[in-house]
Symmetry: C2
Subunit: 231 residues, 2 copies
């Protein structure tokens, strides 16, 4: 990644960490942008600018990073309601509806976001779209057993599907599932499409995050941070 | 289990196996009643009464049983469409809508049933109910990460939930998930309730099988096998 976008990620990560207050239960997102926020939270804790927070990581990767930063961690069993969830997104539309999942952690991310009183999304201007699906595929998490019938079903819904792989092998999520990246010509109604996708047995979750985000901090090309709220 | 019910299970298992024809792709259910059908299919194969069938097991347990019986097995990747699925059920209502999942294999069972042209349910008369939920809880399969928020959500829908355990430990499904058994006072609309349950992130599947069964073979107390079809 170019230094420019790395710097924009750092800016939004810092801005997100500034919203964290002492005593909060915080959900930590996953992926390179969310990691910037986690690092900034770690720095604020170390500098004693905030105290007595406790965090729930949305992936095994994030848990490792947070432990390395000495951020106190807990689970949803201990803290079923969170004050704030901070995460990146692959696409952000004008309603603050999102596509997430290019980092393959969408399932736990959605569970934690749903359990949070407030959801803050961070990213740079390239993530802003007019309509979901403009640039990103819709990631769909599927049990390996059901790969073939779910693929046929998604193609029946109009998707071109690609099994996500890394180094020639299927990417396996924290829950032991595969990801089918679904390319649709146009997504007219994300809510309806998400329901149809989720209805098929073997589908565990999809990457539409609708009505979940309350606020977004978006870094523009000139470094300005634009604050967007759900209309 | 008493000999009487064991005998009724054997009768329906035999009757189901009689419907299997040479050349078919068959889905094998899970649980003690479905096992009777799998054993009867194995006997018919061994006696050369049917040939050239291939089967897809709906659980690791069923796969082990089928292998022991020398029943040829395949996967949904190889055979995405099945001719016939045979399985038991916990409850069967007059529309042949079902509750399944007391055997903890509901997820793969539903995937295989959905991929089958025809679904045949077997059981004894105790499984017949006027309304789903009369006697059985609704099993809900959940990722362990989301146990607490999903429990709260299901309680919000009116359920009393019990984490399924065996020997003091949580039962873990073939997909690594837990089962929450949900007791509702009354289930007025299983379709609506199923959608609400499935909508919650962290819920992987539930035990309502609606509109999936085409036929049921039910052993009555006197040993008569009653054939029911979906109205």
């Amino acid at each position: 990644m170019s230094d420019e976008f790395q710097e924009l990620k750092r800016l939004t990560g810092d801005a997100a960490a500034e919203t964290v207050q002492s005593g909060m239960v915080i959900g930590l997102g996953s992926g390179s942008t969310a990691d910037m926020a986690t690092r900034a939270i770690g720095r604020r804790l170390a500098a004693d600018q905030i105290r007595n927070i406790i965090c729930i990581p949305s992936s095994e990767n994030t848990a490792r990073l947070a432990r390395a930063l000495h951020i106190p961690l807990t689970t949803l069993d201990e803290q079923p309601t969170l004050d704030l969830y901070i995460d990146g997104a692959d696409e952000i539309d004008p309603q603050l509806d999102l596509i997430k999942g290019l980092g393959a952690s969408l399932l736990r991310e959605k569970v934690v976001a749903t359990a949070s009183r407030s959801v803050l999304i961070i990213g740079d201007y390239r993530k802003l779209v007019q309509q979901l699906g403009e640039r990103s595929p819709l990631p769909v998490e599927v049990i390996p057993f059901a790969q073939q019938p779910v693929t046929s079903y998604l193609e029946g819904l109009g998707a071109r599907t690609i099994l996500r792989t890394r180094d020639g092998k299927a990417v396996i999520t924290d829950e032991g599932n595969i990801i089918l990246d679904c390319y649709f010509d146009e997504i007219a109604d994300a809510g309806q499409l998400g329901q149809a996708v989720r209805a098929q047995p073997g589908v565990v979750e999809h990457g539409f995050f609708l009505g979940l985000a309350d606020e977004a901090l978006v870094a523009m090309a000139d470094g300005e941070i634009r604050r967007l709220t759900r209309p």
